[in-house]
């Protein structure tokens, strides 16, 4: 997250295409890589908007049922699709005008190679693996216990700067995992009468 203080290619002062950038700098999120992310999302939003508008136009108008032509089901989604496409176009066009050099893309790519990104990716993999694979394959308590155990061990051993001894992490994580798995299952099944997956 350590990008240089200011973007040299961004036009200074009046006419700057990036509006509302507060002078006090409220965070580390802005910068060249954000401009590139905006370009990408702008294009995606434009495509989604056009697709939605098209799908709404093609939507049945229910003429057979003789509904009022102003109340066709596609009306509102169509308008929303157009609005989204406009927003996407503005977002993309604005980012194209800023920073024409390659630094933006490089920095945009670099944000995916940081430790933070690895931590997010690990969390996502664990979360998806638990919800999509473990739940349904193992009994709920066991699936939850396995997830909690894996999560704690991964973050306390692999991503920690000064990890505890392995046996301690494994032991405490195991105890917590079983307590969580069993408690959640029992509480929801007997307390709230939920049939767990």
């Amino acid at each position: 997250m350590s990008h240089e203080s200011s973007d040299p290619s961004a036009p200074p002062g009046a006419g700057g295409p990036v509006p509302d950038q507060p002078a006090d700098g409220n965070g580390d999120g802005d910068g060249a890589h954000m401009v590139r992310a905006d370009l990408l999302t702008g294009v995606i939003l434009l495509v989604i908007g056009v697709a939605v508008a098209w799908a709404s136009w093609e939507m049945p108008r229910l003429e057979v049922r003789r509904i009022h032509p102003a109340t066709v089901p596609g009306l509102v989604p169509g308008l929303l699709g157009i609005a989204l496409a406009i927003c996407g176009a503005i977002l993309a066009a604005r980012s194209v005008r800023v920073a024409a050099d390659g630094a933006g893309w490089r920095r945009f790519g670099a944000t995916f190679l940081t430790t933070s990104a690895a931590r997010v990716a690990a969390t996502m993999v664990l979360a998806l693996g638990y919800a999509l694979v473990l739940v349904g394959w193992l009994p709920f308590w066991a699936a939850s216990a396995a997830f909690v155990f894996a999560f704690i061990v991964l973050f306390e051993r692999v991503f920690a700067s000064s990890p505890h001894p392995l046996w301690r992490t494994v032991l405490t994580a195991g105890v917590q995992a079983i307590i969580v798995g069993v408690t959640v299952s029992v509480v929801f099944q007997t307390g709230f009468l939920v049939r767990l997956p």
Partner: protein, 508 residues
């Protein structure tokens, strides 16, 4: 007026049972804990707990959820003061002065004043709620399709405009995405299934609760786990219970911040965080010690904490009278009310008048509870704060999965939660606000049905949307707020009004 007072008395009396008091106690405590743990927000807490309140009676369920809401918004202040990171977004302004106070050894005083300010802020808001809600209901009873269409659009637009971090267009995009999500499933006028892609599960649309558990639960877990280092807790060993003179000295700030917070709360989809910032900015402008702000000013702390808490009753005003959520958490509360068979909106006061005053009583009880728990349980709460995230987040995620599954007992909702969590995380990383998304999801149906019903009533004629007085006013507000987010127009207007100060002061 007298009738209102009688109903209010009934509302309070209604909850003076052991069962209610027990619910108030555990729910508020849980709310405070949710609030003070970074990564758990009020919206997520309320969304997760909807499942747990399923078997309760409607009044007890809403009571518990309301206590969680109030508790969480207050609980965030503790983390802001001692950890320098807001426990919930609502406490961001509290961090500015709360943490410098803790650093200079006045952490106890800061915690104490945050507690009394939160309580007083909620009280100011409660008074406004009790006075304004019946008036607004009376006006809203005359609203037709035209007005409700504009109100729904206004809710999404104003929320997008005011909650966007630096770029209004991202707020609008979030709102549009929410509205489009609401378009999925059977529409309300002709029973036609839109955007279901042949999947039967999509026929009923996307449920708000799993979506919220994803966008505020999983997404937040990802944000928390992304950070490399945990923060350090500042010691606070001085006296916690504030002296009366400290509270009394800033009475003007308290009342002003309470009123500002309430009115920010009334604005649809604009909640506690903006309430706190608004009160903080106003207090700084009026203060005799403005230079102390940001360096440990008691007044700044009081303004922020009063402002965010007052926004809660404020947000309940449009929520109850118009079914227009005043904040993201209030949107979840609306969903919970529907689950429990309570229909908020103009008819609420006609069909179920005692409920409005029961909400007032709920908020009053929650206020009492944060006062007692907040001042009494300092040490215990301090220990909760030290739970490492590596240990806490997996448990929270297990609850997210169970919580989204349990409502309809289908795995489809878990997939919805996952999708909203991951997309929500990326949107958040790119600085898209989440509140407009929630507003869009909950207001989409209202907007869609009322636009088309209005058009059918006027036989395709658009003029009633612009000529009916209330419609015209709301329409004007919508147009203005969109126009003002266009930089060129913003600069032009700024130049027009502040000619002699030069064009440098781009308002934001």
């Amino acid at each position: 007026m007298l009738e209102g007072l009688a109903l209010l008395g009934d509302g309070v009396a209604h909850f003076l049972t052991w069962q209610s008091l027990f619910n108030v106690l555990w729910a508020t405590l849980l709310g405070i804990i949710i609030g003070l743990l970074p990564g758990l927000t009020a919206t997520m807490g309320v969304a997760l707990l909807v499942t747990l309140t399923y078997p309760m009676s409607p009044d007890q369920a809403i009571l518990s959820l309301m206590c969680i809401y109030v508790g969480a918004i207050y609980g965030g202040s503790r983390t802001a003061i001692l950890l320098a990171i807001p426990g919930t977004p609502a406490s961001a302004a509290t961090t500015l002065d709360g943490n410098p106070l803790a650093m200079s050894g006045k952490g106890g005083l800061a915690m104490g004043l945050a507690t009394t300010s939160s309580a007083l802020g909620t009280l100011v808001g409660i008074v406004c709620l009790a006075l304004l809600a019946p008036l607004l209901t009376e006006a809203a009873l005359n609203f037709g399709s035209y007005e409700f269409f504009w109100l729904a659009l206004f809710g999404v637009v104003i929320s997008g405009r005011l909650t966007a971090f630096d770029d209004p267009i991202k707020g609008y995009v979030a709102g549009l995405l929410g509205l489009l999500v609401a378009m999925i499933g059977m529409e309300g006028l002709h029973g036609f299934r839109r955007f279901t892609f042949g999947m039967p599960a999509l026929g009923g649309g996307i449920d708000l609760i799993p979506a919220m558990v994803g966008a505020f639960g999983l997404a937040e877990i990802l944000v928390v786990m992304k950070r490399k280092v945990s923060a350090r807790i500042f010691d606070a060993s001085d006296r916690v219970v504030p002296r009366f003179k400290d509270v009394w000295k800033y009475r003007r700030t308290t009342v002003r911040s309470g009123v500002i917070g309430t009115f920010v709360g009334i604005v649809p989809g604009v909640g506690e965080d903006i309430g706190a910032w608004g009160s903080y900015a106003a207090a700084k402008r009026k203060s005799a010690e403005a230079d102390r702000f940001g360096k440990g000013s008691l007044e700044g702390l009081i303004a922020a904490e009063t402002g965010n808490s007052a926004a809660i009753p404020g947000s309940m005003i449009p929520t109850l009278t118009l079914a227009l959520p005043g904040s993201a958490a209030a949107a979840v509360l609306i969903a919970a009310m529907y689950i429990h068979g309570i229909r908020p909106g103009p008819m609420l006061l006609v069909e179920n008048a005692p409920f409005l005053y029961q909400v007032v009583a709920m908020l009053a009880l929650a206020t009492l509870a944060i006062l007692v728990l907040g001042l009494a349980l300092t040490r215990v709460l301090l220990r909760v704060m030290t739970v490492p995230r590596e240990r806490l987040m997996p448990v929270v995620y297990v609850l997210c999965v169970v919580g989204s599954f349990a409502i309809a007992q289908r795995m489809f909702d878990v997939y919805v939660m996952l999708a909203f969590g991951i997309i929500g995380f990326f949107l958040r990383e790119m600085r898209y606000p989440m509140a407009p998304l929630v507003m869009g999801i909950i207001l989409g149906t209202l907007l869609d049905v009322n636009l088309r019903r209005g058009l059918a009533l006027s036989n395709g004629d658009l003029t009633p949307f612009f000529t009916r007085p209330v419609s015209a006013v709301i329409c004007g507000l919508v147009v203005l707020s969109i126009l003002f987010s266009i930089p060129v127009i913003q600069r032009f207007v700024t130049r027009l009004f502040i000619k002699d100060r030069g064009p440098q002061s781009g308002g934001g």
